[in-house]
């Protein structure tokens, strides 16, 4: 069975900072990673492949450097990587992103076999919309299964799939017909490390690179900035709180003294807390 996993390369949000003056996001020097949610989708796809045979293709739309993430996915054990990269895609919102990815998936199907299952992550850590998966499903006419926690059953011969979907108030068990698009929930599995063979293969593999034209996209008006009705009007950092960081020097202080220093520093800005604690202690 051929399975495709859509993955996005994102800046490691743990290391992003907002410029204090211009309020713009400082991406310079921030390492990029595979969108963490997408790793759950990838691992699920690899498990299905290991069980049923077949191939896993990873697909990313992004700048040329997104190749690093694809190579990493190959190290984890994916069989093929496709990078959709073109200036025409710059500035894509979710509508334009799902348009381009749907077209690329079409082409992937023609080149490497039509995938009965396409995976995406639940959402990204930078855009956070959770719209791209459903957008692809709609455009390609795939049945969509979102927020999937577990694939309970898959019968390729009968063309059916049963999954557990987390929903408000409980777990739903859903069954539908292939082909499907699944958006995978976080925390449901753990990405494997990949063996030495996988690492070796990944280091030498050719990542397939497609421009818009290569992917058979002719409607450039639906791509990138032109095809994106959503506009980011303003990016701003939330107002910092009034409290300030206080540093307590640690040199030449015993643990007890340090603890006393820290408490003193806290009480200095939170006199009410000190009173409460004293009252509490007196009450005992």
């Amino acid at each position: 069975m051929h399975i495709v996993v859509c993955m996005k390369q994102v800046p490691d949000s743990a290391q992003i900072r907002v410029h204090p003056v211009t309020n713009t996001i400082m991406r310079q020097g921030v390492p990029t990673i595979i969108n963490p949610y997408d790793l759950f989708a990838l691992e699920e796809a690899l498990r299905l492949r290991d069980r049923l045979g077949g191939e896993v293709t990873v697909l990313t739309m992004g700048p040329p450097m997104a190749e690093d993430s694809l190579r990493k996915a190959l190290t984890f054990g994916a069989d093929r990587a496709v990078l959709l990269t073109d200036r025409a895609f710059a500035g894509s919102d979710t509508l334009a992103t799902s348009f381009a990815l749907a077209a690329a998936l079409d082409k992937v199907g023609r080149e490497f076999g039509v995938p009965p299952i396409v995976f995406t992550g639940k959402q990204t850590i930078d855009g956070d919309t959770a719209q791209v998966g459903p957008g692809i499903a709609k455009r390609l006419g795939l049945n969509q299964l979102t927020y999937v926690a577990r694939i309970a059953d898959l019968d390729p011969a009968a063309g059916t799939i049963t999954v557990e979907r987390r929903a408000e108030g409980g777990l739903q068990v859903l069954q539908t017909r292939l082909p499907v698009l699944i958006t995978m929930l976080e925390g449901v599995n753990e990405i494997r490390r990949g063996g030495l063979d996988d690492a070796y293969r990944a280091a030498r593999a050719q990542v397939v690179r497609w421009s818009a034209a290569d992917a058979g996209i002719t409607d450039l008006a639906s791509c990138g900035l032109k095809g994106s009705p959503t506009i980011v009007k303003k990016v701003f950092a939330p107002q910092g709180r009034a409290e300030q960081v206080r540093q307590v020097p640690t040199i030449d202080r015993s643990a007890d003294e340090l603890a006393a220093d820290v408490m003193a520093a806290i009480f200095q800005t939170q006199p009410a807390l000190e009173e409460d604690l004293l009252r509490f202690a007196a009450g005992q």
């Binding site: 490390r193 990949g194 030495l196 690492a199 070796y200 030498r204 040199i251």
Partner: protein, 434 residues
């Protein structure tokens, strides 16, 4: 297991491993390189000064695209007491040459760049892959490595160990003993960010000119060690390091020393208003020639810090790493051309070639220095204090006549160190330096 057999496996993607891998791949050898870090440089710490000469011999046109920070035009040597420093500064416009001699670099970026060149040359690099042991045949010849990945063995004609100072593979495989606390320094380092104009005005620089400070004295609190301050484009690297056994004895902490160094009245203004964004600690092998382990054997060669190739007095390490890596690579290529096996006898060529370079000559010349500095702590405490007091006596104008001042200075040295002590120190120093 990787089915293919390689001409060479290189352990580590620091300067030594990269130099070896690059040299061999350029000559058409099939090379596999294994690095435990997430990417080359992710685990590496250095001041860092890059010495152009060693790299030029590997990648002559490296200046075209290597991530270099500033070229060094001014070198300051400071002998410090608690409130002062006595300095020797050498600044020369001659260092503003077309092919500058020394650069400050940021290792994480530099290693990434170097590794890019290595891969372009055809080396297959696998990251996040730790070598756990050497594989041997029944005769004890090294024939490959085992890694921590599943199915993790790979085979080659020769294994080059560029695994750095704490090279566990070599230690575990019995190629060399564990590090001794007296022969290794622990250094801590911070990166302080400042706008480039601020750095340039504080250090009197323009464009990409850089200045570096090496410091010794009471900053190490009587222990054998040194501190450093290097200018990058938009940051200042500051660090300090001492011999590990000294830390153990004194109970002082490395970060405690660094905090005090940063608060020194001569240092604080240089860092004023900066933001510290990175903290790192790393070992430096400082045992020199006498601490050098065996450098080669049947099927293996050691390069870089793993072989104790550091000249602590001159703060040279990465250039020795690159040079030993290059020479090891050239030796393997030479053997391959002659269709000879990488036996211990044949790999002796590596050491023969190294003897002809500055690496072995310098380390031999300074072979007595590490032990000398370890035993003579007066150079890190008493003398810096005496020197500073003497300078102060000399420069302060206070109605005392100059002859009396001379006497006073001489007297202070005699009291601080006694006459035989002074003469003995001078003789010992001269003898070790020879």
């Amino acid at each position: 297991m990787i089915e293919e057999k390689f001409d060479a496996i290189v352990v580590g993607a620091g300067p030594s491993g990269n130099a070896a891998a690059y040299t061999m791949a350029k000559e058409g050898l099939k090379v596999l390189q294994l690095e435990r870090g997430e990417y080359p440089g992710s685990k590496n710490v250095q001041g860092a000064i890059l010495y152009a000469d060693a790299l030029e011999k590997i990648i002559p046109d490296f200046r075209e695209d290597a991530p270099l920070e500033r070229h060094v035009i001014e070198q300051r040597l400071w002998t410090m007491d608690d409130t002062s420093y006595v300095g020797m500064h050498y600044r020369s416009d001659d260092f503003n040459e077309e092919r500058p001699n020394r650069y400050t670099i940021i290792r994480a970026q530099f290693d990434k760049w170097f590794s890019g060149k290595v891969r372009e040359a055809g080396v297959v690099l696998l990251c996040e892959t730790t070598v756990t042991e050497l594989l041997r045949d029944t005769q004890g010849r090294v024939i490959g490595v085992r890694t921590d990945r599943e199915g993790g063995t790979a085979f080659a004609d020769v294994v080059i160990l560029g695994e750095g100072v704490n090279g566990l593979v070599g230690q575990r495989s019995g190629l060399r003993p564990e590090l001794k606390p007296e022969t290794v320094a622990l250094a801590v380092k911070e990166m302080h960010f400042l706008p480039r104009e601020v750095i340039e005005s504080r250090f009197n620089l323009k464009g990409n000119e850089g200045a570096v400070i090496e410091a010794m004295g009471t900053i190490t609190d009587g222990m054998t060690g040194t501190g450093f301050i290097y200018t990058n484009q938009e940051s200042i690297s500051i660090g300090i390091g001492c011999i590990v056994s000294d830390f153990a004895e004194s109970g002082r902490t490395p970060y405690g020393l660094l905090e005090a160094f940063k608060r020194h009245p001569s240092v604080r203004p240089l860092l004023e208003g900066s933001e510290c964004k990175e903290y790192a600690a790393h070992l430096i092998p400082e045992g020199g020639y006498n601490a050098m382990p065996e450098l080669f054997g049947d099927g293996w060669i050691v390069v870089g810090d793993a072989g104790q190739f550091v000249n602590a007095v001159h703060r040279e390490g990465s250039n020795l790493a690159m040079t030993t890596g290059r020479v090891a690579g050239e030796t393997v290529v030479w053997l391959k051309r002659r269709r000879e096996v990488a036996s211990k006898a044949n790999l002796a060529e590596y050491q023969r070639r190294l003897e002809a370079t500055f690496v072995m000559k310098d380390l031999k010349k300074y072979r007595r220095i590490p032990d000398f500095l370890h035993r003579n702590k007066q150079f890190f405490g008493v003398y810096p204090k005496l020197l500073s007091a003497a300078a102060q006596t000399w420069f302060r104008v206070d109605g005392v006549d100059k002859r009396a001042k001379e006497k006073q200075i001489f007297q202070s040295f005699r009291e601080g160190r006694t006459l035989p002590g002074l003469i003995g120190d001078a003789l010992k120093l001269a003898r070790s330096w020879r």
